[in-house]
């Protein structure tokens, strides 16, 4: 599934930064050699992409029209999986959960912009330390993140509820209560992506020429006005890039859901999971727990479709708000 969505970005994101002029096939002997060598150099990556990404996409499409036996072997069933899928309330619920989760995680994008602006404050002491602290969750194994947060959210022994009790709020079973579980995982989703987005934003901020600010200051613009008239428009390509990547990542969420809302190690089912499954989690359950791989492939394709549509909408909408300097 990751394969599927990554392709759609990889193919389209460069376009956002301006399409390079297409080079025509070389005609001279030297030019042709150079061209061949170029091909040879991209061959390892290209082959890898073909074998591990592009081929599985078509394979998945094919499997979505099949039904699987318990241990492999499949028969063609036509559109049966898709027909079943359209009437499956579980799929609908999972789609809704996925969209809610993604919406919440996208709220982290402005947060990371603010953080980037703060960290870029000239003369800030220990900026590198802050940067490392915010970036740490990005480079930490999701498995470890999930385990630690599951403990932090523990209703009886967790740190979150302990802190809440200090200010007189009685806590909840954040990851075992169907009412809160999705929001609790979205907080972790934001926490895990904010550092990465912050670094990209910070790079974008550094790319804005200082002259603009100096000119604006001469014209009498205050810091707030400068932010909205210079920083924001100049950062819009970065913001667009981040929004597209973050939403695709969030739509494919699996790890934090599996780790925080999955069954615990004594194999007891979490009472919160059935109301809060996301699409990829549902895909995992159908493919690997129920071993209904054909149906799971169909679910994966529906997600691909959703991501594709949302990404196309984002690319359409960018024309209204993204400024390329």
């Amino acid at each position: 599934m990751t394969a599927v969505a990554d392709q759609s970005v990889a193919a389209e994101v460069p376009a956002a930064t301006g399409r390079p002029a297409r080079k025509r096939r070389p005609t001279t002997v030297a030019g042709r050699w150079e061209w061949l060598w170029g091909l040879a150099f991209i061959a390892p990556t290209g082959l890898g992409l073909l074998v591990f990404y592009i081929w599985p996409v078509f394979q998945t499409l094919y499997y979505s029209f099949t039904e699987w036996g318990a241990f492999g072997g499949h028969v063609w069933v036509g559109t049966e999986n898709y027909v079943k899928l359209l009437g499956d309330p579980e799929v609908l619920k999972a789609l809704k959960n996925t969209l809610v989760y993604s919406g919440l995680v996208l709220l982290g994008v402005p947060v990371s912009l603010v953080l980037a602006a703060l960290i870029n404050t000239p003369g800030l002491r220990g900026a590198a330390v802050y940067r490392v602290l915010y970036f740490l969750p990005v480079v930490t194994m999701p498995a470890a993140v999930g385990m630690v947060w599951r403990w932090l959210y523990n209703g009886d022994l967790g740190l979150v509820n302990h802190v809440l009790s200090l200010i007189g709020i009685s806590g909840q079973h954040w990851v075992a209560d169907p009412r809160f579980a999705l929001y609790a995982t979205a907080v972790v989703g934001v926490w895990m992506t904010v550092g990465y987005n912050m670094v990209i934003f910070a790079a974008g901020l550094n790319g804005i020429p200082r002259d603009y600010y100096e000119a604006a200051e001469l014209d009498g613009a205050g810091r707030i006005r400068q932010f909205f008239s210079i920083t924001l428009p100049m950062l819009s390509p970065t913001a667009f890039f981040i929004t597209v990547l973050t939403s695709i990542g969030a739509l494919q969420v699996f790890d934090v859901i599996y780790l925080m809302l999955g069954t615990n190690s004594s194999a007891l089912r979490n009472p919160a999971i059935d109301e809060n499954k996301t699409i990829v989690f549902l895909f995992y359950e159908r493919a690997f727990i129920d071993n209904d791989k054909g149906y799971a492939a169909a679910i994966a394709f529906v997600l691909l479709l959703v991501i594709l549509v949302l990404t196309v909408i984002q690319f359409r909408a960018q024309k209204r708000w993204v400024h390329y300097a």
Binding site: H173, A176, A267
Partner: protein
Amino acid sequence: MNNRWWKVALAATVVLGASACGGAASSDGPVTITYAVWDKEQVPAMEKIAAEFEKAHSNVDVKVQLTSNKEYWTKLQTAVTGGSAPDVFWMNGPRFQLYASQGVLLPLDEQIDAAKVDTGAFPEALVDLYTYQGKKYGLPKDFDTIGLWYNKTLFDAAGVGYPDANWTWDDLREAARKLTDPAKGQYGIAAAADSQANYYNTIFQAGGSVISADGKKSGFDDPATVEGLRFWVDLINKDKVSPTIQQMSDTEPAQMFSSGKVAMYYGGSWEAVGFAKNADLTGKVDVAPLPKGKKEAVVIHGLSNVAYAKSKHPEEAARFAVFAGSPEAQRIQAETGAVISAYQGTQDAWLKATPQYRLQAFLDQVPDSVPLPHSKNTAAWTKKAEELLLKAWSGEQDVTEVAKTLAEAVNTELGNEK
């Protein structure tokens, strides 16, 4: 110049790569057999058995592979689908028929005869459990029953007498009430929605059934079955002597019991070693037979060692699978105290391994035991039970209502079994 240099480098890489592959392919070394297990506590015993096997078969190297209980079946089924399952692995009753019927397992009859293992020395029910269409696919490895583990320190503090063989459901409920102290976050019992350790036992004690004897119909809507389910639901929602399912999802029942937050815990015979190793529990816990309902009953189950039909070394795999069921291997296993070995006469060694607990309670219940419910595709309907029963356990829906929905769902799944 540059071009030529690169061509040489490229050619060299290709040649080196090819020769490296050639080197790996020609292996004359010993045969390696992988042995997949899911219980961490049993790994030392399994390694000892592997070492014993290697002594007699010097060319074979047995590698014990541990996968957590939670991921074992997912991983195994995926590995079988991909054609790369472990050579020998643990099998349980609920999953056996699916694997045997699909030709995943190697029939072991020949090897059992060759090794002269007396199958009469195992409980007959367990031998039958792993026989499919007249062929034996695994020798029983062990068996287990469930017992009532209790924390003596908490019982003493509350002035409650220890559980004994005469206890009934009412005694348990009464004791749990006295042992619950909300101020301390202490509960009488952990009433998790666990099938084998909890509600199957009470279902049978109430005279109910899970699936019919012919495996065609669900018994979940039988009023007696509902009573067996309600027992647990009431402990949480009516008597409030158990943590809620949310609490038990956050903190596992076994962990609550180990940390003295829960005074009683229905746990299998396999728990003894873990409790004995836990320094916090030294001198604090013991075990009794399960309290009886309308009658006495306990779930009995046992694993077996099976061999993978597509193993690269079927001969050695089958030999090892049979060896693990031999009297020597069964004795080694029993002596570690991890599980009750299935082979006749090896149970004493298990009792002696952890003498601080009255483990005889597990063996005493065997005459009243009922096999763990299973059918051709058990996982398909137990999954429904797992999902739906949570609604009863949370108090969201009445048990009778949930049981009715569940019975219908299970009947559908059983109908899908051919």
